[in-house]
Amino acid sequence: MRKLAVLGTLATMGFAVGVVVTSRPSNAQESGRPAPDSIAAPMLSASDTASLKGPRQPIFFRHDIHAGQFKIDCQYCHYSVSTATEPGIPTVQTCMGCHLVVAGSDSGGRAEIRKLRTFYNERDSTDAPRLEWVRVHTLARHAHFPHMLHVAAIGPTACGTCHGDVARMPQVWKVNDVNNMGFCINCHVERNVPRDCSTCHY
């Protein structure tokens, strides 16, 4: 068990180093030379969050930087999405895998990463602060949505089908009302997959 954790941490750190290295060119895009396939994330700081769509989060985590600019695969953090019904919210440990090394490129980013480290470092103290992300997508509990089957069926574009182009979102907002049966059914009808009630409701 412990060995696994250690291995995981090492792998994460390795990856982090890789990201730092590969992210070098993307610094260049600030000087107007966007890297191929990479999406330039705008410069924003936590104080800008109010003007952005979507709920304000305790840490100004930038999907547009991580998934867009650095092209980290969704499943790197949401690792169980292709194997389990739940995609999983990455653990703080997962974040720290990179952010032990990566400290941020600008002051705004550094401040946010400092927050993250605080959460991690104080994890064992009795009154540790709690990281509470505000939930953006919620599905009623009488509907079962096995993420892994949808990822398997739709393929690489699966996430965006419901969650929108998160890679371009500085702050995640709800693009589709996923908790709306019509949204599910439209897709199921279009793709000619079962829409038997007990496929989702049991």
Binding site: N180, M181, G182, I185, V189
Partner: protein, 450 residues
């Protein structure tokens, strides 16, 4: 036949008197009226309070048990739907049969129909577990792309009751229009304005009458099958199931006869005091009651036959489930309900063979109360006793209604009476124009043109 062809109201009455007497019923009501109205509103509030409790805590407050999943609410629902039938029978079917005696009473019975069906219409909502989504029973386009199940007798019910309420309301309103115009032309002040608005510009011109009489005829023709169909559909709520004691082919006619029987019972219950309070003795006479009583006797006898057949078929079928159900209906734990129904409906109605009783209003009133009670029990017995002992003996259980059941029942009476009383006070409770139609207009020459 002589009795039927003998016209109802005394011939001495003139058109002017008819208008005067009927408009007089809309004058300042007596203390008795207010007392009755307050009583009705009070009863309604009891029901409303109970309903709020049901919404808050759930249907468990009522006396349901597993497997008796329907109890007083559906009983009362069927009861009120049944009450409605007499009104349409009198106003539509007897209209087509040109029975002269209907004219004096049909307006009140039709109003009773509308309010009874309005009352009944509340029950499916009260009775379902998640009252706030009752509209899912309607076929409306929604984002879930779901439609209701038209194979379900409950959806038939929605359509049948919805149609019945719409058509009988339309029928009532159409019949009211000329009368409202008559009232409009008799009153003054703000009331005139209100009645003027309600009269839809009615003048009684030849052209209006031309379309009106035709249209009314067709409405009557359309309402006629409704009388038979609505309670047939309601009976199919039961007959379409496989519950022993429910799935009888006899159910549709049995229910329709029962409905009319109970409806006339309610008409009698309402009319006996009403004609006194509204001083309509010279318009609603013994003659009318005699005819109503005969109709009661007829439908009561049909019901008697249906009861006999139910037991006979239960025995003759050699089906152990049916036999058990009917045996327990008569001799099971709720024998008292079973016998109440048979005594009140089958036996008491047989008293009406005697003309003395048919024309004695006190006796009729007492009998009508028996009919009301008996018919409520009929539905209660059919529902509660059949459900409490069906196929799996281990699951048998007896239901005992609780305060939440009685509260809603009382409330339904309050709701019904409240509307009926308000109606009687606001709109002509006797059809002015139809009575006038019965009274020949004065002629200068004796003999006449035709």
């Amino acid at each position: 036949m002589t009795a039927i062809t003998q016209p109802g109201p005394p011939l001495t009455q003139t058109h002017a008197e008819v208008t005067r007497d009927v408009v007089a019923t809309l004058g300042t009501p007596s203390r008795g009226y207010y007392l009755a109205l307050f009583g009705a509103v009070g009863m309604f509030l009891v029901g409303l309070g109970t309903f709020v409790m049901l919404l808050k805590d759930g249907l468990g407050l009522a006396g349901y048990v597993h497997p008796v999943m329907w109890l007083v609410y559906i009983t009362t629902f069927v009861f009120w739907v049944g009450i409605g039938h007499a009104g349409t029978l009198i106003s539509a079917i007897l209209y087509l049969f040109r029975s002269p005696w209907r004219t004096a009473v049909y307006r009140s019975t039709e109003a009773m129909t509308v309010f009874a069906v309005m009352t009944a219409g509340l029950f499916p909502i009260i009775h379902i577990g998640r009252q706030w989504i009752f509209y899912w029973l309607l076929p409306y386009p929604n984002q879930r792309m779901l439609w209701p199940n038209f194979k379900s007798p409950l959806i038939w019910d929605v359509f049948a009751i919805g149609t019945y309420l719409t058509v009988s309301t339309t029928f009532l309103v159409v019949g009211l229009v000329p009368d409202i115009a008559a009232v409009r032309d008799k009153v003054s002040g703000w009331r005139k304005k209100v009645y003027a608005m309600c009269s839809l510009g009615w003048t009684g011109s030849d052209n209006q009458w031309r379309h009106y009489t035709r249209g009314y005829l067709y409405l009557a023709a359309l309402a006629t099958p409704l009388v038979l169909s609505v309670h047939s559909v309601v009976s199919w709520d039961f007959a379409m199931s496989i519950v022993p004691g429910w799935h009888g082919t006899i159910f549709a006619p049995y229910f329709v006869a029962g409905a009319i029987y109970s409806g006339i019972g309610m008409v009698l219950t309402l009319l006996v005091p009403l004609r006194k309070v509204l001083k309509l003795e010279h318009m609603i006479t013994e003659y009318h009651f005699d005819n109503l009583a005969k109709l009661t006797l007829l439908t009561g006898s049909i019901l008697f036959y249906a009861y006999l057949m139910e037991y006979f078929v239960g025995w003759y079928s050699a089906n152990t489930f049916e036999q058990t159900t009917f045996f327990r209906r008569a001799f099971g734990p709720q024998w008292w309900a079973g016998w109440s129904m048979i005594i009140c409906n089958a036996f008491v109605s047989q008293l009406l063979w005697f003309r003395k009783i048919r024309t004695n209003l006190t006796a009729l009133f007492v009998i009508s109360i028996f009919i009301n009670v008996g018919m409520w029990f009929e539905r209660y017995v059919i529902i509660a006793s059949s459900l409490s002992n069906d196929y799996i003996p281990y699951a048998w259980a007896q239901a005992n209604p609780t305060w939440a059941d009685w509260g809603i029942l009382v409330g339904s009476f309050g709701w019904f009476l409240m509307y009926f009383l308000l109606f009687a006070r606001t709109f002509p409770i006797v059809a002015i124009q139809e009575i006038k139609e019965m009274i020949p207009m004065p002629r200068r020459k004796r003999g006449g043109a035709h």
